[in-house]
């Protein structure tokens, strides 16, 4: 009986405590505010940026329920998980030209340069001997 009452109360609180997500653009960033009805922030809540059913970015909200992420696409969904079955998904779109820096490409160039320097360094050391 107690369990039933707890389940009922839980159900009521879920309805009366809906999760809200509001997203706005700030330059090259999307600012995501997540809060429960009555402006109580969704703190440390998981935020997924989803494009073509794939998670392309992930973050956690801060103490104010805010997450700030660099824009990586013109259209995507934002999914905030507030736990206890509080989940909210909204769509976001922007006309801003997105410049995506390919981290892998940059890494490859850096590693290549380091490798070249190392090879020449080793050759230099061998030549000196």
């Amino acid at each position: 009986m107690i369990r039933l009452i707890l389940i009922l109360l839980c159900g009521v609180s879920l309805q009366a405590h809906s999760l809200k997500v509001f997203a706005s653009q700030d330059g090259d960033f999307v600012v995501i505010k997540s809060y429960f009805y009555g402006n109580s922030p969704c703190r440390n809540c998981n935020v997924d940026i989803i494009k073509d059913d794939k998670i392309i970015q992930n973050a956690k909200t801060d103490e104010n329920g805010v997450a700030r992420l660099k824009l990586m696409a013109n259209e995507f969904d934002i999914l905030v998980d507030g736990s206890l079955a509080h989940e909210k998904r909204i769509s976001f779109s922007t006309d801003t030209k997105i410049t995506i820096e390919d981290d892998n490409q940059i890494s490859k160039i850096i590693y290549s340069l380091i490798a070249i320097i190392l090879i020449f360094g080793i050759l230099y050391l061998i030549k000196r001997k």
Binding site: K20, F22, S24, K33, G38, N39
Partner: protein, 249 residues
């Protein structure tokens, strides 16, 4: 209290006036950006009968949000026959409770030898913010909702508290009218303007039987008079609030 004041209050109590200041947004709740470009309409009218009265450009129109007052200055005059009313555009960019208000130029009613000043407001909830709908915004007289003033269904009860100069207005008459956009007919004169009175705490309640916009106008005699043609006239000051009810879809 002199005899003239007594006569004016007696008139207030007896005559079904039905003048209402109107401040109505295009949306009382905002769920997505497509609803966020609000068109605010400011009128002076008999809402049920649909009879327009002339509204001069309001002395002040604004919005109270996040504890701050913001003046709305982009009012444009519109005409309904010979009568003027105003519209303004306001783009809601952030979650919040937006209290739109107007303080009109007092209107002289020659039939009753009084000036009418209906300070009018309406409350919009943007993106489910939900905090602060019961905050006074510092108007000379205003209705503070005790019922959340948005997300209401047809048949819900609306309760409010009337403040005049920050204090509860006890035993004040609150006139209620439906904004009759459906050309409904009332069964008789007494059905056009409904009336309730505030209790000792300035509180009142009313159940709204139709879906649409409902105006609540709490009337007090102001402590100021207005001079016209060398004569001092009393002022009927009204605290007006508009709330919207909807039906299940």
């Amino acid at each position: 209290m002199n005899l003239k004041s007594l006569f004016v209050i007696g008139s207030l109590a007896c005559v079904a006036w039905g003048h209402f200041g109107v401040v109505i947004p295009s949306n009382s709740t905002i769920d997505n950006p497509s609803q966020a470009k609000e068109k605010i309409t400011y009128k002076f009218t008999h809402p049920f009968e649909g009879v327009m009265m002339n509204l001069d450009k309001p002395v002040e129109a604004g919005v109270f949000v996040g504890g701050k007052k913001e003046i709305i200055s982009n009012l444009s005059e519109k005409k309904d026959g010979k009568m003027s009313y105003y519209e303004a555009r306001y783009n809601i960019k952030e979650p919040g409770i937006y209290q739109f208000y107007m303080d009109p130029k007092p209107y002289f009613e020659p039939a009753e030898d009084i000036f009418i000043r209906h300070i009018t407001k309406t409350i919009v909830n943007a993106y489910g913010y939900g905090e602060g709908w019961d905050e006074p915004i510092g108007l000379k007289t205003e209705i503070i909702p005790l019922t959340r003033p948005y997300g209401l269904y047809k048949g819900n009860i609306f309760s409010g508290k009337v403040l005049y100069k920050g204090k509860p207005a006890k035993n004040a008459i609150v006139e209620i009218e439906y904004l009759n956009s459906k050309s409904l007919k009332a069964p008789g004169e007494d059905y056009i303007t409904q009336e309730v009175k505030t209790n000792e705490l300035g509180e009142f309640s009313f159940a709204m039987p139709l879906a649409g916009w409902w105006g609540f106008s709490a009337l007090s005699e102001d402590d100021e008079t207005i001079k016209k043609d060398g004569k001092e006239y009393p002022v009927e000051i009204g605290a007006v609030i508009w709330v919207e009810t909807k039906d299940y879809e």
